[in-house]
Symmetry: C3
Subunit: 141 residues, 3 copies
């Protein structure tokens, strides 16, 4: 068992910017898992079929969950204007773990890992990608 | 530390079919955790008290979250008719991890692990159950 | 790789009592992760910026998600009066995993780990905190 912690850096636009992380998840683990975690209180991680229809549908559902145009106590107190982003992030969760076996992420055929940036401005996001398990070759550990 | 990746196969009916996975989670880990993950973009995993009242209440909440009878861009584009299922799955999450100690899943007394199949048709679901930790007997590793 | 399973005990008030767990998460792991899990079907764990504005905003979003004043089948069947709490817990999730590297939880600057107690009465909550990875000093393992 080895652990390797890496960081994916992504420039995002905010306002429900949903981005496919799957190509960034290195797959050198033979058996184990990958933990994906976004540090920050205005973004989340989940899985979807990453096609423009579902992306659009998920954005609308998130807007229903925490509308951008209702009052937020966070904004009243701090003037950040991103109260909706905080609520959305809490409900979507910052963490996701995907099992790996035989060197393959055990995602479904049409299932991708996505970062959802809910903030109200562009951000440079650091997404943690922690590989845990046995590695294919010693030099990958 | 050992890792063992197994698959639970379940025939589901879709349309918010909520199924108790707890009896399927083998408990041979002594200390560690069990990662439950559903491969596929139209199902999710969480915990509930698995009794018919809560099952019915959760179905209704999920219907409010992503109603079946509103337009979905996924359906307009692909004609699948399961746009609601994609959104529900993204919000419920595909992964759940349960700690184990002294050979016991550390669930509450009234807390079960459930698969929620949101798709609009029966499916044969593959749920990944990855055991990680120390095992009770060497032959269980 | 070592695993250490500990329990945080917290007296909570219920009714969306949101409590900062971050100070309780011991940080003796050098590289690995911390799994936070609440045993019980009426509480959840997530991350937020723990300030009174966001806490209030999240409570309101959770109230929209599963209002306290609509009928629940769980209550009709069992008379517990906490049907809303069961639904909220299922949607927020009982588990959260935070990566650790160089002895530090990889949370964002303004991101805390919180317990959300949704029940309709005060509780003494047991929150599992499982440390996994390499430890800073042998005696911490």
């Amino acid at each position: 068992m080895e652990i390797r912690t890496t960081t994916i850096t992504l420039a995002t636009r905010g306002f429900n910017d949903i981005r496919d992380l799957t190509p960034h998840l290195t797959q050198r683990v033979r058996e184990g898992s990958v933990l994906v975690f976004v540090g920050g209180a205005t973004a989340g991680v989940t899985t979807i079929e990453f096609e423009s229809g579902v992306v659009s549908d998920l954005k609308q559902a998130i807007e229903r969950l925490a509308p951008h145009d209702i009052p937020y106590a966070h904004d009243a107190r701090w003037g950040d204007g991103n109260g909706f982003a905080h609520v959305r992030a809490a409900l979507v969760h910052a963490d996701l773990e995907i099992p790996v076996a035989e060197g393959r992420l055990l995602l479904g055929t049409w299932q991708q890992v996505v970062l959802c940036d809910f903030d109200n401005r562009p951000r440079e996001r650091q997404v943690i990608c922690q590989l845990r398990g046995t590695f294919a070759r010693p030099e990958d550990a």
